[in-house]
Symmetry: C2
Subunit: 359 residues, 2 copies
C-alpha cells in the first residue's frame, strides 16, 4: 500500500531541494514508499514522483507488483521500450535520478528527451528514510534484541577449539535460526592482534590464545532492518594496559552517546569520542569514523564523522563505535545503535559493556 | 599490467561502434584490461579509453592501484572533485558510459561538460570479453575441472539423512576447500518435484524419497572465472516415464552441442534443443532459454535463446542447458559449458551424462 505519510515527507523534501520530479528505482526506497519490491534486476523499474504528490510506477510485466491505489501503473513487455514510456510522463527541465540506478537507464531516458536535464534526486528520499517512523523503530528494536542474543551466544561459545571462522559460522547459524535473512554478512570474530585491523573479518585457521582480546562485530538484516553491534572481551586474562585501553574506548563511546540529541551536528558526536581518546594519548590509534546510519541498509546516512555538519534529528538511527587499534597488539571497539529522541537518544543494543574476562 | 591485446580489441570494437571515447568502471572490465581491481565501492573509479589507444585511470587515493605503463594516472582525494578531473580529459561529442555505473557518476560528469552527450559504451568491452583468450580458457577449464570434482562429490554424498540445504552446504564447503572464492552462490540441490521449478535453490527440511530425481546445479567462481554445470540423477529407482524424459533432455542437449560452431546464430543453438523436446511432445515443458555466457560473471552475453541472432565466434564460452519441467512431478536439466572452436566446440565439463540411479 502506498504509504502516504512517507510520500508526503518525500514531496516536502523535493520542495526544499527545488525538485519537481524524481525517479526512484532503489529497491529499498520503492519498498519504503509502496511496501512492495520491484526486483527488476537488470531491467527497468522505477517510480516517478511529482511535486504535487502524483506517483507513476513503470515496471516490466515479469518483474512487477499489482495495481495500487494512488498510483498510475505502466507495465511494459520485453518487446516494448520502457524509456519512451517514462519520457512521455516527464515534464521539461530538471529530473532527479536515483543516484545508484545503472547509467543505461538514465542515458536511455535522456536519449528520448532532449529537453530534460539530469540531476541527482536521491536526497529527497534519503532525507525521509533517515528519519525512522514508529513502524521502523519497532523493527530496529526487534533486530537489536536478536543482536543482543547473538552477542550472548558468541561470548558463551568462546572456545580455544574454534578458529575465528568456525565461531563466526556458528554465530551466523544462530542469526539464521532467529530470523536473519540470506543477505546476512560475514560475522566478524577477531582474536588478539587481528582486532587491530578494523576491517578484519574472520579467518579460518586463526587460533585463540590466553590474554587475547576477542572482538565480535555482529550484524544481520532481520525483517528488512539491520542490527549492528560490537563488543570486545578478553580471554582468560587481561593485562593492565589492555584494561586501560578498554576503559578509554568505553568512556569515549559513552561521551559520544551522551552528546546525541536533536540539533547537534554529526561531527560533534564524532568529536566527543575523539576527545576522550586523544586526551588519553591514543588519538593516533582511533583511525575510523565514529558511526554510520543504519536502517534497511547497514551503511547509510548520516555518518558521525569529522566534517559532516548534518544536524541530528528525532528518529535518526546510527551507530556509535569508537575504537583504538594498535598494530600487532590489540584492537578494541564498542558499538551500539542509537535512535535520536526528543531529549537525547535511545540505545537499542543492551549487551553489557563492563569489561568481561572469559575463563 | 595493461593488456595490450585486449585493449587493441576494445579499441577496434569502439571503431566498429563509432565510439571515440568510453569510460570503463565495471570491476571485472577494469581487471580484464589492467589485471588490477579498483574496488572503488561507492566512490568514483574508472578508465577512460580513447580510440587512439590512449588510456587514463581516475581513482580515489584510498581505492586505487599504482602507476602502470601505458596509462596516464589521475589520483584524487576525498576533498577533490573527480568528475571535473574526468571532464577535463574528455573531447566534445559522444561519450560512452559503462552501462551499470551508478547514475550519480554519469550525471556528475554531464554536469561539468554541457558539450558532451552520453551514450552506452559497454558493448565495446563486452564484445571483447565474450571472446576468451588462451589465459581465460585455461582458467575456465580449471574451474570446470573443479566443477566435475564437486559433482562427483555431490552424487557420492546423496543420503536420505541430508535435506537439500544440508547437502548444498556440504557441496559449498567442498568448493571452498578447492579454491572457490567467497562470492560463491547457493548450490542448487533439488529433490523430486522441487526440480520442476527451474529456480528452486536448496531448502532446509526438504527430504529425499525413493524414486526422486535429484537435480544438482553447481556453480562457483574459481580464480576469477565461473564454472556452471547441472546433472540430474535418480534415487534408488527411476520410472519408465522419468527415464524417457531424461533421455529426451540428454538428446536435446547433445543436439544443441552438435550445432555449436563459428557462424551459427545463438538462436539456432536454442532451436536445436527445442526441436528435440518438441518433437517428443514435451515442448510446453521446456520453459527456459538454452544457455547463457559465462566468464568473470556467471550470466553474461551471449545468450542461447529465441530471437538472439548474435553469431557464435571462436572463443565464446556459454552454457547449454535444456530441461523439461513438469509441475508436481519432475524436473530434468543437463548443463555443460562449451567454448566455440574453429570446427565446433570444446565441452569443458566432463561429468558423465548416462542415466545414474544412486542406490
Amino acid at each position: 500500500m502506498l504509504n502516504r505519510d512517507r510520500l508526503d515527507a518525500i514531496v516536502n523534501n523535493m520542495k526544499k531541494l527545488g525538485l519537481t520530479q524524481i525517479l526512484v528505482s532503489d529497491d529499498n526506497a520503492v519498498y519504503y514508499i509502496t511496501g512492495r519490491k520491484i526486483d527488476a534486476m537488470e531491467r527497468c523499474g522505477a517510480l516517478l514522483i511529482k511535486d504535487d504528490g502524483e506517483v507513476h510506477a513503470f515496471m516490466n510485466r515479469l518483474f512487477c507488483f499489482e495495481e495500487m491505489d494512488g498510483m498510475t501503473m505502466h507495465y511494459y513487455s520485453d518487446d516494448e521500450n520502457p524509456y519512451k514510456m517514462i519520457a512521455e510522463n516527464l515534464n521539461s527541465g530538471a529530473v532527479g535520478f536515483d543516484k545508484n540506478w545503472a547509467s543505461k537507464h538514465t542515458i536511455s531516458i535522456l536519449t528520448e528527451r532532449k529537453d530534460i536535464s539530469p540531476v541527482i534526486g536521491s536526497d529527497a528520499v534519503d532525507m525521509s528514510m533517515a528519519l525512522k517512523d514508529e513502524e521502523e523503530k519497532e523493527k530496529l528494536r526487534h533486530a537489536a534484541k536478536i543482536n543482543d542474543m547473538a552477542m550472548d551466544f558468541a561470548v558463551s561459545n568462546i572456545d580455544e577449539k574454534l578458529d575465528e571462522k568456525e565461531l563466526s559460522d556458528k554465530i551466523e547459524e544462530f542469526f539464521e535460526k532467529n530470523g536473519a535473512s540470506r543477505d546476512i554478512q560475514l560475522q566478524y570474530v577477531c582474536y588478539g592482534k587481528n582486532a587491530a585491523e578494523p576491517h578484519h573479518g574472520a579467518v579460518a585457521g586463526e587460533k585463540l590464545n590466553e590474554g587475547d582480546a576477542v572482538l565480535f562485530d555482529l550484524w544481520a538484516p532481520i525483517n528488512g532492518y539491520w542490527c549492528d553491534m560490537t563488543r570486545t572481551v578478553f580471554y582468560k586474562k587481561c593485562s593492565d594496559r589492555h584494561r586501560e585501553i578498554y576503559n578509554i574506548v568505553k568512556n569515549a563511546q559513552k561521551a559520544a552517546i551522551d552528546t546525541v540529541k536533536p540539533g547537534v551536528k554529526m561531527h560533534d558526536i564524532d568529536a566527543a569520542a575523539r576527545k576522550v581518546i586523544s586526551d588519553a594519548g591514543y588519538g593516533e590509534y582511533f583511525i575510523t569514523r565514529t558511526g554510520h546510519g543504519v536502517g534497511m541498509t547497514v551503511h547509510e546516512p548520516p555518518e558521525a564523522k569529522s566534517g559532516n555538519d548534518t544536524i541530528a534529528e528525532v528518529g535518526m538511527c546510527f551507530s556509535i563505535e569508537p575504537g583504538i587499534y594498535i598494530k600487532d597488539d590489540i584492537g578494541v571497539r564498542i558499538e551500539d545503535l542509537v535512535i535520536v529522541t526528543e531529549d537525547g537518544c535511545e540505545v537499542l543494543t543492551k549487551y553489557p559493556k563492563e569489561l568481561i574476562i572469559v575463563k
